[in-house]
């Protein structure tokens, strides 16, 4: 048992150091994603209303240069779309203009990746797949290893047979009770 505990301690220490960075990534992203129904964890968005001189209901080919000129857009656009008789949409990198040709009312919608959060969420959700799948699976394995070896690190009153056992039971009971509750709802 003494040797087993020694091996556990070694594994826990070495794997623990390796897990620090990834744990922070998943924990920070976890909080952000938990509240995805409250906010967009990946992008910050802006919306403002502008007014330009109306160009009138013209064919798209004629309206397009006039609108671009009146909005002061000189950079190449990604795309332009005539959604309806009155609505012309202009798409640029990170910006979209919805232009009412009749009234000249313009809604400018912008978005930008949130610094750090976008990146950690990308990793957490494994949006890139490929190599990150291997890294994330390895990390999950390391977490299992940390959890199992952690049980045997301390012996005595503060270990599995004492206080440690009680807190461990609490950590196991919590998700089990929740799972039962959501099943019977």
């Amino acid at each position: 048992m003494k040797k087993f505990r020694k091996v556990c301690r070694w594994l826990h220490r070495e794997a623990g150091f390796l897990a620090v960075g990834l744990t922070l990534v998943y924990a920070i992203s976890g909080i952000a994603i938990n509240h995805a129904h409250h906010w967009d964890a990946n992008y910050s968005r802006t919306e403002e209303v502008l007014q330009i001189e109306p160009v009138g209901i013209l064919p798209t080919a004629e309206a397009e240069p006039l609108v671009l000129d009146r909005l002061g857009i000189t950079i190449p656009v990604k795309g332009i779309w005539r959604d309806s008789e009155t609505l012309l949409q202009i798409f640029l990198d990170g910006v979209q203009y919805d232009v009412n040709l009749e009234s000249g009312r313009v809604i400018r919608q912008g978005f930008a990746k949130r610094p750090l959060l976008y990146d950690v969420n990308f990793m957490h959700l494994n949006s890139g797949k490929k190599i990150w799948t291997v890294i994330a699976d390895t990390y999950a394995g390391i977490l299992i290893l940390l959890a199992l070896t952690g049980i045997f690190l301390v012996k005595g009153r503060k270990g599995l047979s004492g206080r440690g056992g009680v807190t461990m039971a609490l950590g196991v009971v919590l998700p089990v009770v929740y799972a039962v509750l959501i099943r019977i709802q």
Partner: protein, 157 residues
């Protein structure tokens, strides 16, 4: 031990760099061929295409802001769009894709709505367009056609 760690970290960085530099403009399975269906032709006779794999090209003009699970793709005819729906979480379209020209592939499907659902949809459409809405005028059930998407490729115009 130190050399092994350095070697492992170097390999990992190289692999990550390779992944990051790879073509990231493919979503899902991408597209499997070059032949394209014309959106206006599909919409002109949508029932003919039900169950068929279709491949369309157009500007992505709207998308799901919350989960990135759908795109509206502009038709070759003004004012006409087609809906590309993907399984939640399987493919996630970022906001950057809006405005890009894409080729989308998937199976053309039809969803029949009840009269109640149709009325709710018409009410929402009328609200959006600022038009008046009279539920008594809605007497037929709506069928929503869409591409159940398997892949998207972002292309240059």
């Amino acid at each position: 031990m130190r050399n092994v760690s350095i070697l492992l970290v170097s390999i990992m960085i190289l692999l990550l760099a390779g992944t990051a530099m790879a073509d990231q403009k493919v979503y899902g399975k991408g597209v499997s061929g070059k032949e394209l269906n014309v959106i206006s032709e599909i919409l002109a006779d949508p029932d003919v295409f039900i169950g068929q794999t279709v491949r369309v090209k157009g500007i992505a003009v709207a998308g799901c802001a919350h989960r990135g699970c759908w795109l509206n793709i502009a038709s070759d005819k003004e004012g006409q769009t087609i809906r590309l729906q993907v399984k939640d979480g399987e493919i996630v379209f970022p906001p950057e894709i809006i405005g890009e020209t894409v080729i989308a592939e998937g199976v053309w499907t039809a969803n029949q709505y009840t009269l109640e659902q149709t009325k709710a949809m018409c009410a929402a459409e009328a609200r959006k367009e600022g038009k008046e809405y009279n539920p008594e005028e809605v007497i037929t059930c709506k069928t929503a056609y869409q591409i159940s998407g398997t892949g998207v490729l972002v292309v240059k115009k």
